[in-house]
Symmetry: C2
Subunit: 450 residues, 2 copies
């Protein structure tokens, strides 16, 4: 057993700092703007929505943000996460490539989302906040926040996209097990939701609408704040524990990565895996190819434009400079609900413009085929979101088979698919759709940029 | 972080041997009998059902059975499993007790079952077997075997209790993702199933019926064998990796267990956790109280008798000397499907008669209440089966609060509850039944002992 299949670290090896990449970039990202004045938003604009500590992290110029002991203590429930050598997958592909995946599905809610949910709940609790609101699509973020709120005694109120509320009753139950209140969105509880219901009582909802509802409730209650599961700088920074551990684990295996692949929706998993490696790359220590993978049905990097846009549908958020398909763009109902977001993290968008990584888009069938192969060879059922990264990992490994190159490929398996088996069933029964996105739909949505 | 929340071991610490407790017992367990002759069954009687290596393990007099490298290589995907200090649960109870749980839910199929599914698939593949058949109730065993068969290129055919087949479509999909064929049991594929369907076309099925079907198909095909997920000696022996790791982990934490608690259905999880500790107890090194927890709706230890009985409903198996409620006993439909078995492992039954551990029974509501508390404090949603062990762990910790004793309590969290959220939903909405089992139902079933 000298050639490891899995590299685990003792809990004393959990990173003590989150890594903030902003000060290491050749240029700072453009700031968020107030939609009325088009002036940069300041801490006071954000204070109704976020606690001061998170606002400070959002604009921090410090490379290293210390992780509080109380957060570390909860991280210890599942961190460090394992880095696993995908020997079964390699064998099935007959590739000389060596494939490693960092597995985040062992967290209480089954994805990487608790990495940021826990500190967000902690800082809110420290500030005396009583309740957190949020939105959730497929449910991974909502269940992570519900778990984190239970750890720090906060109430948690989640607006879940109505279509998912009906299709994924077990994700909803999971949030309720953790003690959260879950609303189908659009809901009659908010004016944003009521307005949409008045126009369309059967609205299936969208992530953009659910964000509007959660933000409205947080903004109008003194004891309530809002939590976001991706997109913002502080969220991406919290996720860097993934990459920091992976660096130590790859080194323990004596490996240097040649290719790093991650899926992108709002960008938090991709950033968490890659930022520490990009730091090493900027310092000239390593030179891997770094590649984001997004769904063809929601291709903000590969077909969106780089512009200021709203983060939500109703236009409650600041304007964010990002790759966007337009805040009114409604993605087709692919099963990777966590990747169905019209925009992209402003920080990642800026880094993409700087040429720090590349991006590709994948169709749904190719991704589920990759997920099925992964399950049968590695045992773990991937959530639909990371099947995008797995599909590209497989494509890269097949290229290595053809070229004979022994590349080291690193990817992130950011969540398990235990709540997504109906999607696998659709795929296995040959009923899975591959959506074609006509350029006109993108153009039409982009015509409504603020 | 000097006071650990979680003790992890490097993969080099996976045990190299399974521990067979039989040679360490003061008396050997009574042998299985042929139902016709009432003579002990020999290897030839079992050869149509099991490969020779497993038959040899079933009757082995060796203390230590070496784990083959190919099995270790698959174990490395998730083993060693973590031992976690339940600090959140302790705090919520205000107990001076220190509670540790060994978490097996991180395996590919989410329970402890792959610990034996993997070697069973391996030994069958080694012998040139092409296909394995089995039964499954709630689906934990079926999905474990499906995973293991995918690892060694075997076909897998599962008879799933019809009621569960309908109620747990996602467990069924999980088996199919791993490539298995799943039948609702009773099925028209077998004569045992056809006979029952002729009498009752709407039969909800039972574990006993599903065993009869899987055994019938294996027994009548040269290239097919049968795999059982609990009850038999070799199955219990494979599970001892749990307890062996736990001994090393508790020692690393500087702890000696005072109370060890596990749930029992067929007995494999309880045996896996406790056998290595019972070895130490028999050697006079430690002296913990060891306690099995079974459901009030299926109380084979606490209300069954110790007698020879069939392992299945149709009477295809050898006669097993065990604690039984009668092979025709039909347990009420509690959500802990893995504990709904009329009998008990003969080896554990024998050890219970020897006074090596004690047993208690728990009602369903107390268990789900314990599961909900555990989820909110520890983050992990327990499967319904281990909520029994958690309920007794909590009861013990509350007794410690009252007495002031700082006991060390060890338990096994043998699986997660991601596929059981509809049961939690029933509990949270106040609709969960607590079944009362009248003595007449037990007496009636016991009147039909062979």
């Amino acid at each position: 057993m000298s050639d490891p299949r899995k590299i685990v670290l003792d809990e004393s090896r959990i990173p003590r700092n989150w890594y903030n990449i902003v000060p290491d970039l050749p240029a700072p990202p453009p700031p968020p703007l107030h939609p009325g004045t088009r002036q940069p938003v300041g801490p006071d604009d954000l204070a109704p929505l976020f606690p001061m500590e998170l606002i400070a992290q959002e604009v921090s110029a410090e490379r290293h943000l210390p992780i509080p002991d109380s957060v570390l203590d909860v991280y210890r429930l599942w961190r460090p996460t394992p880095l696993i050598r995908a020997r079964g997958l390699e064998r099935s592909l007959g590739t000389p490539a060596r494939i490693y995946y960092k597995y985040e599905g062992g967290s209480p809610s089954g994805s990487h989302k608790p990495n940021t949910a826990v500190p967000q709940a902690y800082y809110n609790a420290q500030q005396g906040v009583r309740r957190l609101t949020t939105e959730t699509g497929a449910g991974q973020w909502g269940s992570a926040l519900a778990f984190a709120c239970a750890q720090f005694g906060l109430e948690c109120e989640v607006w879940m996209v109505h279509a998912s509320y009906d299709q994924k009753p077990y994700r909803r139950s999971l949030m309720q097990v953790y003690g959260a209140t879950v609303h189908a969105s659009p809901s009659a509880v908010t004016s944003a939701g009521s307005k949409i219901l008045a126009e369309d009582p059967d609205s299936p909802g969208s992530l953009g609408i659910a964000i509007s509802e959660a933000v409205e409730v947080a903004g109008s209650h003194e004891d309530t704040r809002y939590a976001l599961g991706s997109v913002l700088n502080h969220v991406l920074t919290h996720q860097t524990v993934i990459g920091e551990e992976a660096i130590e684990q790859l080194a323990a295996a004596g490996e240097t990565p040649d290719v790093i692949v991650g899926c992108t929706g709002g960008g938090s998993n991709f950033a968490g895996l890659t930022f520490p490696f990009i730091r090493e790359k900027l310092a000239g220590k390593i030179d891997p190819v770094i590649r984001a993978v997004e769904p063809e049905a929601c291709p903000s990097f590969t077909r969106g434009i780089y512009a200021y846009d709203f983060g939500d549908t109703a236009g409650f958020t600041p304007l964010l400079m990002m790759h966007t398909l337009g805040h009114l763009f409604m993605p087709d109902p692919i099963h990777a609900g966590g990747l169905r977001y019209h925009g992209m993290s402003p920080l990642l968008s800026h880094m993409y413009e700087l040429g720090l990584f590349e991006a590709v888009a994948k169709g749904q069938s190719e991704c589920f085929e990759a997920g099925l192969r992964f399950a049968r060879t590695e045992g773990i059922i991937p959530a639909p979101e990371p099947t995008h990264a797995i599909a590209e990992t497989i494509a890269e490994a097949v290229r290595c088979r053809e070229s004979g190159e022994e590349k080291v490929i690193l990817t992130a398996l950011c969540g398990h698919g235990h709540f997504d088996l109906s999607a696998y069933e659709r795929f296995m029964s040959g009923q899975m759709e591959d959506y074609v996105l006509p350029q006109e739909r993108i153009d039409e949505a982009l015509a409504h940029l603020p």
